[in-house]
């Protein structure tokens, strides 16, 4: 079974540019999460999708961040326009649907390292 995949693995952009990160969850996982770790800090929650619906977006820093999950499969996270403080590692995780055994277990992708210069 393929794990969570993320693309790209690393992105370097200039301040003011736009970047789109992609996450492909484990097949059949209804829940998809985005997290971020900025340098020196712990991993922090950004938002949670259940299928194509946003369940919780309380961790999104501001309206420069837009997440989508059309069709309930892969998700994208767009940052527009990027600022220096957006640099960090963006992780995606997925877990099985509600009621499924192990639904609290979240499986992580390798992350996208975003550097804004």
């Amino acid at each position: 079974e393929a794990g969570v995949t993320q693309f790209p693995s690393h992105s370097v952009i200039e301040k003011g540019q736009t970047v789109t990160l992609r996450c492909d969850p484990i097949s059949g996982h209804d829940n998809l999460y985005w997290y971020r770790r900025v340098m020196g800090k712990e991993i922090k929650f950004l938002l949670h999708f259940v299928k194509e619906s946003k369940q919780d977006e309380s961790g999104m820093p501001n309206n420069r961040f837009l997440a989508e999950r059309t069709g309930g499969t892969y998700s994208t996270l767009k940052v527009q326009p990027a600022e220096l403080e957006d640099s960090g590692v963006y992780f995606c995780a997925s877990s099985p649907g509600q009621g499924a055994i192990g639904s609290y277990e979240q499986y992580f992708g390798p992350g996208t390292r975003l550097t804004v210069t």
């Binding site: 999460y33 712990e42 929650f45 995780a93 192990g102 639904s103 992580f108 390798p110």
Partner: protein
């Protein structure tokens, strides 16, 4: 505000030593506590603990949750160089049958030959 604190932040041991990593949590709507191992890229799932006092084991690793003390420990016996990694603890802030993870800072473990 939800918070998870891990200690120590870093640890250096020699092969064969036994280590204990600590995690304390203050998480509202607490559901479970998860441990992950992160070597280079993706945090790899180790354990999920939901019930207090029940030890979970996987090879040389074991973990237990104390809901009265709001804490958990991760033990690694007979450490090997391959155990060198960052160990992350996360509390589940629940919503229905799922929820967001509140992470600690991580414990960086280095095992020397």
């Amino acid at each position: 505000e939800d918070k998870v604190v891990q200690s120590p932040l870093s640890l250096v041991v020699h092969e064969g030593d036994t280590v204990t990593l600590n995690c304390s949590y203050e998480v509202t709507n607490f559901r479970s506590l998860l441990w992950y191992k992160q070597e280079k890229k993706a945090p790899t799932f180790l354990f999920m603990l939901t019930s207090s006092g029940i030890e979970k084991k996987s090879g040389r690793l074991s973990s237990i949750l104390d809901k009265k003390e709001l804490s958990s420990i991760l033990n690694i016996t007979a450490t090997q160089t391959g155990d060198s990694a960052i160990y992350l603890c996360a509390g589940v802030h629940g919503s229905g049958n799922t929820g967001k993870l509140i992470f600690g800072q991580g414990t960086t473990l280095q095992v020397k030959p």
